[in-house]
């Protein structure tokens, strides 16, 4: 029979997932199977997506779940629909919070990415010769999204280890995950702490961090006084790098949608056709890209 594989993602509008899909499509074209792409923003949609795939006669599904706690439910649903299940980006856990080790997974831990962000920031602080005590940090947060929280916590952990003053870390809660909301929230932090002249910023993704950068510009901070590091290496980040003069957006941790999209799809194809189960756990790593290095990094990750 024809091979049909589902690729379900939690935020279809996000460029990251667009890229994953794009690379999965490359695998589909190479191997000649059908890829069904479905967006599922919440648990209910994720379950229907699996039912829908089952009804279409798909044999396997790769999912980036809207919530990792959906684990047992998704597994049950996939089994009852006779679908092979793999996860990407976010790893499923059981009710106790333990990863479901039986489900093959490719991803990168949120905390790890956050730590990479923290590391990049710390290095820049040192490189610019700032005194840790005089630096403020904007934590652009969206705590209702567990991944987002884990990422910023990862960054904070590294900052603290390197002597960053905990009381200089300020929360800028986004009401939505867009740049405008981050801009508004970060403005308040900057205006409230007008005494601090050097700033760093981190958050869920490039869009969030960019909000903090825009806020710093509106508050009259110079690019040299801001170190903001995003996550994703999306077009928003690239656009920043392309600007004629440097901005406070120092860099972005790029994770590779190519591997996440292409390799997972390929692995699933092999699993379906040759019954060769993929490795249970593949962790990819993020890589810092800056104004200077982004083209090289993208090439290295197969994005260009």
């Amino acid at each position: 029979a024809d091979v049909k594989i589902g690729f379900v993602v939690k935020q279809p509008e996000e460029p990251w997932f667009q890229d994953e899909w794009k690379f999965a499509d490359v695998a589909a074209k190479e191997k000649g199977f059908t890829l069904v792409k479905i967006g599922a923003e919440d648990g209910e949609k994720a379950l229907s997506a699996i039912d829908n795939l089952g009804a279409q006669g798909a044999q396997g599904v790769i999912i980036c779940t809207p919530d990792v706690k959906l684990g047992p439910g998704l597994v049950a649903r996939a089994t009852s629909n006779q679908l092979k299940l793999m996860t990407v980006d976010d790893r499923l856990v059981n009710s106790k919070g333990k990863p479901l080790e039986n489900v093959p997974h490719m991803g990168i831990s949120a905390t790890k990415i956050g730590e990479a962000v923290g590391q990049a920031i710390v290095e820049q602080i040192k490189a610019r010769g700032w005194n840790m005590k005089d630096v403020g940090a904007i934590r652009v947060s969206y705590d209702q999204l567990p991944t987002a929280k884990d990422r910023v916590e990862g960054a904070i952990a590294v900052l603290k280890q390197n002597g960053f003053v905990a009381s200089n870390i300020f929360d800028a809660p986004q009401s939505k995950t867009d740049t405008e909301a981050a801009l508004n929230a970060a403005s308040v932090v900057l205006n409230k702490n007008a005494g601090l002249k050097k700033w760093v910023a981190f958050g869920l993704n490039d869009e969030a961090v960019l909000g903090a950068v825009r806020a710093s510009e509106a508050a009259g901070l110079k690019a040299a006084d801001m170190v903001a590091v995003g996550i994703g290496g999306s077009d928003s980040a690239i656009n920043e790098f392309k600007k004629p003069s440097p901005t406070g957006f120092y860099g972005s941790i790029i994770i590779s949608p190519k591997r996440h999209g292409y390799e997972t799809a390929l692995n699933m194809y092999n699993w379906v056709t040759t019954n060769k189960e993929p490795e249970k756990l593949i962790l990819t790593s993020g890589k810092l890209a800056t104004r200077e290095s982004y083209q090289a990094v993208r090439k290295e990750l197969g994005l260009q």
């Binding site: 967006g39 919440d42 648990g43 229907s48 089952g54 279409q56 009710s95 209702q144």
Partner: protein, 316 residues
């Protein structure tokens, strides 16, 4: 021919049009009309369907409820957390139902007694309830310990899963309530002409409170089923549900200006939304194009219905 015309243009015209469209879908979309797909489709509209039953009453009485999504999520969280901590499934369900009723009753009392605009009140409770769910769970999903809990949604007497059965039951029940009971008729009267109802001695305040309370109760039912289906209580679940539910109702001919509602319409409204989603995924339509298609379907559905009613010469 003449009978067909009368049927299409009559009260049940929307239903007939819908059945025609459904026929076309069955014939053209492969694997739509399989038992599995239909069951999957029905399960995907359970939450919207259940909540739409009481939203219909709410709109019929010229009110509005934006807090349903939050309440669904909150009730699901309560069900899971309480049954985890008491190790008693039954207590968990009871607590969730109680939570829904309390939220609904608060909405009702604030709106009917303090006379605060329903939009603002339910927008406020929407935030407060969502916040409470997030605070209670620290923003993370809470897993279910007891396997019996997921079995609620997995059990399928006669091959029909419990959530679908509950939804069908709700449609039957609230259809009856709307058309046959004093409560239902008073609800329509309040929406159709609040002054006249008050002057006729209808206890407008009490009825409004009841409507919101029932709304809370059904949100809890939907929340319990949802958490059982997704095997966890999720504080972020059911975001934006309010808009989908209200649209399904309006699509089904419920008037936002109150006084007009029919359960058959609501059922059709809910199914149109569910089928559109289902078919787009079956046909592998790209995510961004799905937006556009969804919008066009919405427009077409009401447009057809309007042409129909206009053909019968009723004043709009």
């Amino acid at each position: 021919m003449d009978r067909l015309k009368r049927a299409v243009l009559g009260e049940q015209g929307l239903v007939i049009l819908f059945l025609l469209a459904l026929g076309i879908v069955c014939l053209t979309v492969p694997s739509f009309m399989t038992q599995r797909n239909i069951l999957g489709l029905l399960q995907s509209v359970v939450t919207i369907g259940i909540v739409a039953c009481t939203m219909m009453l709410c709109l019929a009485s010229r009110d509005f409820d934006l807090s349903v999504g939050s309440t669904v999520a909150f009730a699901g969280m309560v069900a899971v957390m309480v049954s985890n901590s008491t190790e008693n499934l039954f207590l968990g369900i009871l607590a969730a139902l109680a939570a829904g009723v309390v939220v609904g009753a608060i909405n009702g009392v604030v709106i009917a007694k303090l006379r605060i605009n329903a939009l603002i009140t339910t927008l406020a409770t929407m935030q407060i309830v969502r916040g409470s769910a997030l605070i209670a769970s620290d923003g993370r999903a809470v897993g279910v310990d007891d396997e019996a809990y997921f079995n609620i949604a997995l059990t399928a007497p006669l091959g029909i899963p419990v959530p679908v059965l509950v939804m069908v039951l709700c449609f039957g029940l609230f259809g009856f309530v709307l058309n046959r009971t004093v409560f239902g008729r008073n609800t329509l009267a309040i929406g159709g002409n609040p002054d006249a109802s008050r002057l006729a001695g209808v206890n407008v305040g009490t009825i409004r409170i009841w409507i919101f309370t029932l709304q809370g109760l059904l949100c809890a039912v939907a929340g319990i089923l949802l958490s059982s289906r997704i095997t966890s209580g999720q504080p972020n679940a059911a975001q934006g549900l309010e808009l989908s539910v209200i649209s399904a109702c309006v699509l089904g001919g419920v008037s936002l200006a109150g006084g007009r509602a029919a359960i058959s319409g609501v059922l059709v409204g809910v199914l149109i939304m569910g089928i559109a989603e289902n078919v787009m995924n079956l046909m592998n339509i790209q995510a961004f194009y799905q937006y556009v298609v969804r919008g066009v379907i919405l427009l077409l559905a009401v447009l057809l219905d309007n042409l129909r009613t206009r053909a019968t010469g009723r004043r709009l």
